[in-house]
Symmetry: C2
Subunit: 388 residues, 2 copies
Amino acid sequence: MNRFEANLRIPGPTSLPDAVREAGARQMVNHRGPEFAVLQNSIIARLKTFYKTENDVLIVTAAGTGGLESAIVSFLSPGDKVLAVTIGAFGDRFAKIASAYGADVTKLASEWGKAAEPAKVHEALQAGGPWKAVLMTQNETSTAVTNPIEALAKVAHEVAPDALILVDAISGLGAVPFETDAWGLDVVVSGSQKAWMVAPGLSFVAVSPRAWEAAAVAKMPKFYFDLLAHKTSAEAGQTPWTPAVAVMFQLEVALQLMEQETLPEIWKRHAAVGAAVRAGLTTLGFKLLADPKFASDTVTGAWIPEDLDWKTFNGKLRKYGLIVAGGQGALKGKIFRIGHLGHVTIPNILNAMAVLEQTLIELDRPVTPGTAVAASQVAALKALGVTK
Amino acid sequence: MNRFEANLRIPGPTSLPDAVREAGARQMVNHRGPEFAVLQNSIIARLKTFYKTENDVLIVTAAGTGGLESAIVSFLSPGDKVLAVTIGAFGDRFAKIASAYGADVTKLASEWGKAAEPAKVHEALQAGGPWKAVLMTQNETSTAVTNPIEALAKVAHEVAPDALILVDAISGLGAVPFETDAWGLDVVVSGSQKAWMVAPGLSFVAVSPRAWEAAAVAKMPKFYFDLLAHKTSAEAGQTPWTPAVAVMFQLEVALQLMEQETLPEIWKRHAAVGAAVRAGLTTLGFKLLADPKFASDTVTGAWIPEDLDWKTFNGKLRKYGLIVAGGQGALKGKIFRIGHLGHVTIPNILNAMAVLEQTLIELDRPVTPGTAVAASQVAALKALGVTK
């Protein structure tokens, strides 16, 4: 362990508020007993308000990828035509899961760093079908791009009204504006270690009534990730398999903290830290990966300049306690990413910028002390509406 | 929550030692960073000593049922002939997972409460085949029976030498004698919330070289539970999907505690608490479910007498802080179970017996104060070798 307190700036697991951390140390309870039922029911009711849904929300003990698998295998059958709208590594993963279970997947990929275009989705939907499902990523963690899900879902509803809309909202839901019901989304997956400020181990899945209709006839093989089994158990205040109880203790506390802050304030804070990171990195001379129109407010990716020795640079960042993430998939070794979701404050970002400045100056790069911090601060103040 | 400290006597999640609990409150680290690799490598090395194996051991973020699914889908193909030796609800579940993914499953079931008989396994193996795998349960949590795995594996090796032996050791491994390599077991699954004294959320799977050979050609659909993906990631000190980091923090501490106690002492302690529970319950007039020759030392099941109102009885037990488990599958409502694995001491059992005595006396049943406690103590002392 680093002997300095870390500024954990990866896009999940995020750092945990003290009260959340401490709830992870509680003693176990009977997961088939009344205390657990109260806990789970309370968590589900709270999750629904953040999902903005009246649909069922189920808790699956797994990483987000397990949640995505549950979204595929619970509602689809081998041979089903699926349009996978992908803008990066996680969109590709969602498509790969569907293919692994025998779906007939058509991939609609965008250039990495770009969002999906509603017109192209329209075109792709019209060119094929009949579609059983459309897969989309709300916030593509690998490229730091947020998709216009509302517009994409609208197109899907128009062109393929019978298709289920399955959304990977793992790294954005709870941090940036999202509407499950108003946008007509059938299955929406998230994960505990992202905006929810909780340790990893739980995935959440919202399921619409028409998705349940599909579940009744879905033929993909499944057992652990069978959401119908989860639904039946949830009605009795339980889970079908032993749940990650300690992570649920943390989640209950984190949801209370989120309620105290309120969702509009959470969204505003993420808009501010996102703007701050982008302004600071740009001032430091980094080229950002994401199309500015669709830049994510939960994670930012920047190209590693050819003349910067990444290992040396990252080693120094680590020495100062700043932990960032590398690139994924095709971007491995080419970019680095700064996570800014969940338990993140503007001072966390200013600290990150100060460390980046310090490190670049130590490496003899042309950086003026304080400039990235200042740029971040100005951008954050503007995003918060404090200044114009 | 009950305002008295609970005596959590269910067969998992078990109560956690304080040092283990507290590790669940640690701050997050980068699961793709060097600190995590050190943690995971240390955990895996320690797990291997308790598994008594030099095979790979992999960590899957899921309940034990997810570990069972990984054992099926990673090594088998649809149509493979599988003999499922089942002695209860969890053996049935293992068989059901194999069937769900298209294996050609032959079930060899025993009367509930009995162990599997090597001679019958011999017969069943000879009557069919060629067998790709044999499924067995080390410790059947639903019936409180421990199978003679060594003898069953020996028969399988003799009659079906090419068959992989897949063992559900979720609720016994780490508590009662078990030898992965000496018994020639190919795939062995356990779960964090059992003998390991850790919160639920992790499953462990040991994999033999010949199982890896099978994995290379296995055709069942899979993604999250693909153990080959876990193997590749583990070689880089990672997991393929974000792991339950906080549960791993707990596991590292729990394994250190287990090392301090030593495996022979852990086995002896479980033999003593098992004997104590059986003696106490028998003295109280309960009829035990399990064949005494194969009674489990991690969980005990007792029939609920027809003239005992279970809800009233259990409500009083809860009031005194004693949390027991009900029956599962076909035994639901017919038995109750007392868990005694992991973080369990002889005084925990004497407390449970005192509460049972007290409650039965309050319900006007013919129980003499102190008799069950005394019988438990005598049995424990004998099992420990203190008395004869």
